[in-house]
Symmetry: C2
Subunit: 218 residues, 2 copies
Amino acid sequence: MGFQESFPLWDRLQPDQQHRLIEAVGLRSVKKGTVLRDAHTPCGDLCLIRTGRLSAGLISDEGREFTLYRLFAGDLCLFCASGIIPTLRFEIIVRAETDATLWRIPKRHYQSLMAESAAVANFTNELIASRFTEVMGRIEQLMWQGLDRRVAAFLLRETEIEGSAELRITHEAIAHHLGTQREVISRLLSGFRDAGLVTMTRGRITIVNKGGLEAVRA
Amino acid sequence: MGFQESFPLWDRLQPDQQHRLIEAVGLRSVKKGTVLRDAHTPCGDLCLIRTGRLSAGLISDEGREFTLYRLFAGDLCLFCASGIIPTLRFEIIVRAETDATLWRIPKRHYQSLMAESAAVANFTNELIASRFTEVMGRIEQLMWQGLDRRVAAFLLRETEIEGSAELRITHEAIAHHLGTQREVISRLLSGFRDAGLVTMTRGRITIVNKGGLEAVRA
């Protein structure tokens, strides 16, 4: 698919807006692990994901991480660019979770579209609202759910994303996603293993009782 | 101040938009404690605060609460109306923290302004982004800060809002704001008292060492 088919608002732009946009867009390939935005990596481009997957999270002064949401092919990452909305002021780390290709839309270009088109402004509204909704879900998990439920939910979501019950993921990486320590995750996973929910080998976790894990999550 | 002076975008509306808006707006007085929006109280109006103060928070199935942010005179509460942005889908409780008077803007009316005016759409963007930024601040506190820092920050913020070092607030209410149990708050406050930071009498907490409390928060 080309940019025109992937950019959600393409058909609602005026011909001259389409022309200016297509002139400005560039393509970028990034390796797994590449940081696209953090406090030390200001970035002037919005990214529309062509292939691959990004994650967005918080990072503490001590380097602890906490994943807020993931973005997939066809998703637009507003937060890849800093300061797209003046009142949106928080530090976030955006990273490629897999090798990825991204269409880059220069920030100033997108901002001028927003200023002149109610359709683009309202679309941006809906994008921010979607991320806000995801973050609110995370805060509810944090407030009201025990870590066992959160780990079960994470593993189930991963099998869905990867399309496989066998996950190549370290305890460290799960701790990063959930904003806790590796030891805590290892202890919980050992409990899951003892209950017959998962098996583990080095760097791999296999879900062997999906229903049981769903019961923990519920 | 009248509605026209208080509505942030008034001067950027067309005369016919101004006319339609002023026709649609109503005034509502609410008592302290009134719930303006929750899962059982869908509300079709946005509210612009004329006097008083609102709080917005999460509420668990078991009735535990967690304050996300506060709104003051001149603030517009988008979340008072449900479903203003289709992708903004989370349950929130909005409550009057004091007696308040509110200008009510019917949701459908505001949505039609958003659809036709890039200025209104971008203003709405900035409003959502402001709340998002506040919520991100709360999630960072939850993730990385101990409860002692959060209680100190809460007390200091309250004295600022109330303009007084003597706060009429129960331990239960503080627990609600911070999403924890009363006993936990009482234990922490006793620690603050023993350290000479606050004094307590029934239903009242007085900050007697502001610098000390700031050091706990830092």
